[in-house]
């Protein structure tokens, strides 16, 4: 049966070609740009070089932005988890015939542009809006407003990526055999103990996927900080990349270096996280 040994490679080829062209090539390009130098006297032009100065700039001048990216993304991930887990649990175990409707409702925001939705949030959270007034009356506002604060940015990130958290958790919970939960209660575990010792560990793959799908794009997001945040206090790495790439003449290599650093930072954090909470042994 030696005749068909080439077949797997033929089947793999389109996928590999796709990856090479649309993933690997841009990545290599990005890495090479991140090492280019500005052409002296010609802002906006570059020449090939190995210029680590871009990385020095990226790390030296934008540390606060990296810090905010990680912090806001982590906060959004925590809040999204806190909101999404009960939601996914309810859909998976309590929704009954409403289940499909609820799933559609969770996914419905995807039907409109998330930028438009974020702009809508700016109106909802406006100073004269219901939310800001109510919180103001209750003295729950840190300052005089919600928009242009980190609260709005984190809230926006949480909202934007909530479905990315809820759907994997739902998928994870939905795979949990209800008989295992029954077995837990049969074996002297109360409702909460069963949840803690059976349901939660079994839904960990979904939780892991959900947190990654939330944290990674949230750390790279710039739309929420742009539309809901302030000028100097809440901008994230994504905003700097956008600005360096589009608006700063000659900022392209720094933007590339920022992207590479962000990618590396996320990889390291995610790697540590998966190592700590990974559930490889799960079937």
């Amino acid at each position: 049966m030696k005749r068909r040994t080439w077949l797997p490679y033929v089947l793999l080829a389109p996928g590999l070609a796709w990856l090479a062209v649309f993933y690997l090539a841009p990545l290599v390009q990005l890495a090479s740009v991140s090492l280019q130098s500005p052409f002296p006297g010609y802002p906006g032009y570059y020449y090939r070089n190995v210029d680590v100065g871009n990385y020095v700039t990226a790390l030296g001048s934008f540390g606060a932005h990296f810090g905010r990216s990680v912090l806001y993304a982590a906060l959004a991930t925590v809040f999204a988890f806190a909101l999404a887990y009960p939601l996914a649990y309810a859909v998976a175990f309590k929704a009954g015939r409403w289940r499909n409707l609820m799933l559609v409702a969770i996914m419905a925001p995807f039907l409109t542009s998330f930028i438009l939705r974020t702009i809508a949030w700016r109106q909802i959270l406006a100073d004269d809006g219901f939310v800001a007034r109510t919180l103001g009356v209750l003295h729950l506002l840190p300052g005089e407003r919600i928009t242009e604060t980190w609260v709005a940015v984190v809230a926006g990130l949480t909202y934007t990526f909530l479905p990315f958290m809820a759907l994997p958790i739902y998928a994870g919970l939905e795979r949990v055999d209800p008989r295992l939960i029954e077995a837990g209660t049969d074996l002297y575990a109360g409702a909460f103990t069963t949840f803690r010792t059976v349901t939660l560990p079994l839904s960990m793959p979904g939780v892991l996927a959900g947190t990654l799908l939330t944290f990674i794009p949230a750390a790279g997001d710039y739309v929420n900080a742009e539309l809901l945040g302030s000028d100097t206090g809440t901008k994230m790495v994504g905003n700097v990349i956008e600005s360096q790439f589009f608006r700063v003449l000659g900022g392209y290599p720094v933007a590339a270096a920022l992207s590479i650093v962000l990618m590396g930072l996320i990889l390291v954090l995610v790697g540590a996280y998966v190592r700590r909470f990974g559930t490889k042994e799960l079937v």
Partner: protein, 400 residues
């Protein structure tokens, strides 16, 4: 959280179900069930799927709330207790082992929740009991069906419950393994002395394992008793068909002859022991159904001039035509067509030295000792009419 903690020896008692009822909407799954399972017995609930046996089990486990009725274990009423408050443990169908815990973790789960001091030692003992201690570190996914079955048993037994519930525990195993596990179950039950309530649709499994078998149908217990009693004297056509095979013939009561009821079946007269009739006082002219097990019948070759012995209480029907013959080693099974009565089956033990002499199409007469026949209500419907194909695995049903 309140937990009932009790040892295997103290405070035990019978499992007692009183008028236990469960309705799902308009469907009555369990209908005013009364049942007493003596402490330490091996009890089987047998019936086709949908008969309410699993629902009954789940109510005892606390996983379903009864619509009405009471559940008592010894003196304590557990009807309203939560599952984790009951001295009851379950071996689930397809085991429901926790995939994220290893075998030891699974078995220790119960003791640890009960905050038992020597959980590890108890788990070890339970694993030894089921001969699974060598795989304590394995994950459920790495176990074979039989091994998983043993772990599930150990996980339940380690808690020393008053009552152990087994929900079709062997259904997922292949035939050989099932037979072996049946032996194991019996041994373990004998060793631990805990009340086992075993739910199954496999009549052979129920009969070979249990001290007492209750046959359930449509939410009610049709008949309960020792396997031999149930087999020898089924009280309903359902039980007759669900446990082993039965030949049935519809007849009319002609009258009484001492302790015997005389019945007209077609052109023949047969006799039923009054004590073996479901309705011993049924008046003349009323309908009755005569039942007789295939192995209790004898064949007489018309071509050889054989005739049933006359006199005594030998009953006979025939002539009948042989439709099919299947040789199974220990016995030969004949399918007969009795005109006006239906298809019957006869098992004849292979005692004869000479070759098989009957051929399909040959004519025979069947006879039996009337003491073996039993009488069922003429209005009674046999099991095969309601049971699905799956339910009849291992339960050959009725021949008419």
């Amino acid at each position: 959280m309140r937990r009932n903690r009790r040892s295997a020896t103290g405070g035990g008692g019978d499992l007692h179900l009183q008028a236990l009822t469960k309705r799902f909407g308009s469907f009555t799954a369990v209908d005013a069930l009364d049942l007493r399972v003596p402490q330490g017995s091996f009890f089987a609930l047998l019936g086709p799927s949908g008969c309410g046996k699993s629902t009954t089990l789940r109510m005892v486990a606390g996983l379903e709330t009864p619509t009405a009725g009471r559940i008592r274990i010894g003196e304590s009423d557990v009807t309203a207790s939560r599952p984790f408050d009951r001295p009851v443990n379950t071996v689930f169908q397809s085991y429901a082992l926790f995939p994220h815990l290893d075998v030891r973790g699974n078995v220790e789960f119960g003791p640890r929740r009960r905050k038992v001091a020597d959980a590890a030692a108890q788990a070890q003992a339970a694993l030894e009991l089921v001969a699974m201690d060598h795989l304590a570190a394995a994950r459920p996914a790495q176990l074979s069906g039989g091994q998983a079955q043993r772990v599930a048993l150990a996980r339940a037994l380690v808690n020393r419950p008053e009552v152990l519930l087994l929900d079709e525990p062997l259904a997922a195993l292949d035939l050989t393994l099932r037979r072996r596990m049946q032996g194991e179950l019996k041994r373990i039950q004998h060793e631990v002395g805990i009340t086992f309530v075993h739910v199954t649709h496999d009549q052979e499994e129920a009969m070979s394992l249990a001290d007492t078998v209750a046959v359930m149908n449509a939410g009610r217990i049709e008949q309960m008793g020792s396997p031999t009693a149930l087999y020898d004297l089924p009280r309903t056509a359902f039980v007759a068909g669900f446990l082993g095979r039965t030949n049935l013939a519809d007849g009319t009561i002609l009258g009484r002859d001492g302790d015997w009821v005389v019945v007209q079946v077609g052109a023949h007269r047969v006799w039923l022991d009054r004590a073996r009739c479901a309705e011993p006082d049924a008046p003349a002219r009323s309908a009755v159904r005569v039942g007789i097990r295939p192995e209790k019948l004898r064949l007489h070759r018309v071509a050889l001039g054989e005739e049933p012995p006359r006199g005594g209480f030998t009953a006979a029907l025939g002539p009948a035509t042989v439709v099919d013959i299947s040789f199974t080693g220990v016995s030969t099974e004949y399918a007969l067509d009795l005109p006006g009565i239906g298809g019957w089956r006869v098992f004849e033990q292979n005692l004869d030295i000479e070759d098989e002499d009957l051929r399909p199409g040959d004519e025979v007469v069947v006879s039996w000792d009337s003491r073996h026949a039993f009488g069922l209500s003429g209005r009674d419907e046999p099991a095969s009419s309601s049971a699905t194909e799956e339910d009849l695995v291992g339960a050959p049903g009725v021949i008419r």
